[in-house]
Structure formats: structure tokens, C-alpha cells
């Protein structure tokens, strides 16, 4: 086409090569920009502006290149066609920009959706895990097994056990993670758990709870003690073959509710790294989340007693 305007073939090829090559480079530049930076929806004006700027830059560059080895004729032709060239470049670049913005937005959305789905899956798994933990499958099935045995020989006791197990489970379902309850409520719930365990283990397990009545109204995060006592029972029952006593005591010192859980253990066979207990890390984590302190749960050993103490600041 350029040839028909009286240009030499050589010059026509040169012009189209430099112009189109420059346009291609500019397009690649734009596409790459949008790969790393995607403007928000309301900023389409910005995209157009960017295209216009790039088109102008392209125009000056191609002009400089072409005129450096062109005749006067060509210069005239170029000046005549400058608006046409600019519009053409602007349209091409605009199309490229819109296409790439569309493409990358789509990709971004897909990635977002994938991320969201993954996050949801993780959250669901965590929740399921928590539910499973709360239901204490080992405890539950062993309790049911004890009930099964009681039904034949001592049906009255079986009924009592079913009642206690139901109350205990209902308590778990009712209480929310960040709910605060009174110490006496927490101890009541704990008593259900202890009663069930006593039926399971018979004479091997005894418990003492020592909490003065006047501190019954102190506040405590719901279900904080159960995992500690569960840990003490496991530790005590599975680490010795004798009868064991779990003692739980509570006191109020300097506006802090202090609860101590003691269980016997065998210093000869317990591994030192087990000293922090199996289930205690989650309690520690919970206390940290509530109070941003790591010193609220402490463990100590005294002869063959393992002592877990928990401090609950009263706000």
C-alpha cells in the first residue's frame, strides 16, 4: 500500500518492518506490565491513557529510526500520515491491553477461587479434627463398653452411667471455646468425667477435689481443666500398676485462680521429655491465646507426684 504512494519497495518494507516491529515490542511491554500489575476495574481510563502514551512514544521512536535513513519524500509522506499511524497504533495497543487485562483478570480469579477452596478445605479439616478430639473417641467407646457390661449384671448402675455420659457430652457440645464459666460449674462438669472414669477403672482410681466454697464464683474458661485431668489420669493410670489418686485443688491468690492437679507417676520409666505431658500443649496454647502469656501453665515433679498448675488471672 505504501508502495502505491510512490515509495520505493525498499523503503516501504523498511517502514512496515520498523512500525510493526515497534508495535509488537510495545504490545509485549504492555502485556508484561499487566501480568504483574492489574489495575482495578474502575481504572480503565488509566489503561487507555497508558496505551495512548505508549502509542506516542512508539510514534516518536519509529519516526526517529525511519527518518535517520530516509529521503525527503518519505518525510513528507510520514508527516501526512502521522495521525493515521497514531490512531492505528493506539487501536492495536488498546486491543492488546484489553485482551491481556481480561486474560490476567480471569487467571487471577481462578487462582483466587482455588485459594479460597483450599482455605475452606483446611478450615473444615481443622474443625473436624477439633470435633473428633472433643468427642474423645477412646474414652467414649470404652465407656460404652463398660455400660454394655453393666447392663447384664448391674442395670441400675448402667442407667446412672448413661445419664452421666449424656450430661458430660451435652456439656461439651454446649460450651464454646471462648466462653467463661464459674469454677463451680467447671468442677461439676469435671466431676461427671471423673465419675465415669471411676466406673471404668474400678478401685484403681480415686479422686479428691479440694476447692473452698467461697471461690466457687471465680471465673474460668470453659473446659480448661478437663484435658489437664485427662492427662493426669492417663499419665497416672498407664504409668503405674497400683491404685492411684488424682487430687485437684483450687485457691485464690493475688487475684489469680490457681488450680493444681496432682497424679502419681514412675520417675524410673517416665521419659524426661514426656514431663510436659501429652495433652498439655493444647491447654498451654489456649491460655496463650487468651492472655498472651506462656507462664500460666507449669509442671513440676515432687518425688513420684507429677503436678500441673494452672493460673487464671481474674479480670
Amino acid at each position: 500500500m505504501l508502495h502505491s504512494f510512490g515509495l520505493t519497495w525498499e523503503m516501504a518494507y523498511m517502514d512496515s518492518a520498523v512500525s510493526n516491529g515497534g508495535l509488537m515490542l510495545a504490545s509485549i511491554l504492555l502485556i508484561n506490565t499487566f501480568r504483574y500489575y492489574l489495575p482495578r476495574k474502575e481504572r480503565y481510563g488509566f489503561i487507555l491513557g497508558l496505551c495512548a502514551t505508549v502509542a506516542v512514544v512508539w510514534l516518536f521512536l519509529t519516526r526517529a529510526i525511519l527518518l535517520s535513513f530516509a529521503s525527503v519524500d518519505f518525510e513528507k509522506l510520514y508527516t501526512d500520515s502521522v495521525y493515521l499511524r497514531l490512531t492505528f497504533a493506539f487501536l492495536i495497543l488498546g486491543c492488546m491491553a484489553l485482551l491481556s487485562v481480561l486474560w490476567y483478570t480471569l487467571k487471577d480469579q481462578q487462582q483466587n477461587e482455588q485459594r479460597k477452596a483450599e482455605a475452606e478445605k483446611l478450615a473444615k479439616e481443622a474443625e473436624l479434627f477439633k470435633l473428633r478430639q472433643q468427642l474423645h473417641p477412646h474414652f467414649l467407646f470404652n465407656s460404652l463398653n463398660s455400660i454394655n457390661a453393666l447392663i447384664g449384671s448391674r442395670p441400675q448402675e448402667a442407667r446412672e452411667m448413661i445419664q452421666k455420659l449424656s450430661d458430660f457430652l451435652r456439656g461439651i457440645l454446649k460450651k464454646e471455646e471462648n466462653q467463661w464459666i464459674s469454677l463451680s460449674e467447671e468442677l461439676q462438669h469435671l466431676q461427671l468425667y471423673l465419675d465415669i472414669e471411676k466406673v471404668r477403672f474400678g478401685h484403681r482410681l480415686t479422686t479428691t477435689i479440694d476447692a473452698p466454697e467461697k471461690i466457687g464464683e471465680l471465673r474460668i474458661p470453659a473446659m480448661l481443666l478437663q484435658p489437664v485431668v485427662e492427662n493426669a489420669i492417663k499419665f497416672g493410670l498407664y504409668d503405674t500398676t497400683d491404685t492411684i489418686n488424682i487430687s485437684i485443688s483450687a485457691e485464690n491468690t493475688n487475684e489469680q485462680l490457681i488450680i493444681r492437679v496432682k497424679n502419681p507417676f514412675d520417675p524410673a520409666t517416665s521419659l524426661p521429655q514426656k514431663g510436659t505431658g501429652f495433652g498439655l500443649s493444647s491447654v498451654k496454647r489456649r491460655l496463650y491465646l487468651l492472655f498472651a502469656r506462656t507462664d500460666l501453665l507449669e509442671t513440676a515433679t515432687e518425688d513420684n507426684l507429677f503436678i500441673t498448675s494452672i493460673k487464671v488471672p481474674q479480670q
Binding site: 470404652n142 460404652l144 463398653n145 463398660s146 474400678g202 514412675d266
Partner: protein, 247 residues
Amino acid sequence: MKKAIIIDDEPLARSIVKEYLAFYPQIEVAEECNDGFQGVKAIQQHQPDIVFLDIQMPKINGFEMLELIDEPPAIIFTTAFDEYAIRAFEAHAVDYLLKPFSRERFSKALDKWLSQSATNQQKVATESLLQSAAHSPSQSERIVVKTAGRIKIIPLHEIQYLEAADDYVKIFTAEGNYLKKKTMSYFEDVLDPKQFVRTHRSYIVNIQQITRIDAYEKENQVAILTSGVKIPVSKNGYIKLKSVLGI
């Protein structure tokens, strides 16, 4: 008359097995045991035909108890463990009963055993049960041995080294040494390879105990432990040792 032993730390769990067993007049309950220690004694004393065994028990678990018995009898596990945990052992025990179990389910397990016992398949089965039980979690942190009629639990970190001794392996700790009827390759397989290295055909060493490695003869080295004991290190053993120690 066949003899049964029930081993479970929960009295009611034992009583339900006994109750279900009452429907089998050809089986008598020779003894009920609270834990694995009593279990070992009772099995040696009564030589039962079948053992109902709980897994989670005081001091030593059901698998560890089985390890202490020279010729383990047929085993039916009774456990509240979930199926995943027990699946690995499923193939080798006669059966496993998930608590709580019905009389029908119990009878199914027992009938399976009664029909098997005619063909004498159990011994092989219980042997391979022990092989797969070796990788149960508690056994990755301790070893249970019998010594002069007593049962001793050795935490792994207390082991200094192991030495081959004919059909046995001698386990050395600061307190003394103990024999266990196993092979060196069994321990090489079971112990954590980052902590225990087989430095020689006849030796496995706890690397925490090594203070120095000296040249000995041409291609051989010797590892010196904190206790002063010298352990031979073969050419291959030295290569393994170096890679574990990162030198």
C-alpha cells in the same frame, strides 16, 4: 477343655468377655489380668490356648507384653482403638474386637479361632504379628526386656550400644546389660537410624554416646563412648557413621 486368659485394665471390660465366654462350655477362663506384667506371668503359668488382649494398658502395652512371651498363644484383640490404628495388625491376630462389641461379633471371632485351631496356623500368625507390632508408636521410644524374672523398660536414650550374642542381642545401659531374643537386623530396622548406627556386624551404637572416633588398624576405626567403652567400627560402618554425624 481349652484355656483362656483375659488381659484388660478395665474390670468391666473383662467381665463382658467372661460373660460372652460363658456360652462356650468347652472354654474355661484360667485367669484375669489387670496389666501386662500379670499377663506375662499368667500366660507362662497356664499356657492358655487363647488370649483376649487389650492394647492400651498400664506400663507396657499389649504388643510389648507379647514380645516378652517365648511362644505366644493365639490372640484376639479387644480394643477401643479406631480401625486405622489396628488395621496393620489385623492380618496377624485371629481377630480384633472393637469395643463395645456384641455377642454375635464375639462369637464370630471365637468360631473363627475354633475352626483355625484345628489347622494349627496360629503360631506363624502371632510371630508375624510381633514383626508388624515392632513399629507401634510406644516401641519407638523404649525397649521392654525380661531380666531374672522381672520386666524392665529401657528408654531408648539410656541405651549405650547393642552387641550381637548368638541368638540374642545384648543391650548395654549405664546400669548393666540385658538380653533380648532378637536379631541385629531387627534392631537396625526398628531403631531410629538417625540415633542408632550399625557400626559393625556385631554392634549398633547410640551416637549420642560417642565422644571420639580413632583410627585403629588399616581400614578400621574405633568409636569411644562417654563410658570409656571402645566399639569396633568397620569400613562400611564408618561410612554410615560419617553420614549420620554429617562429617
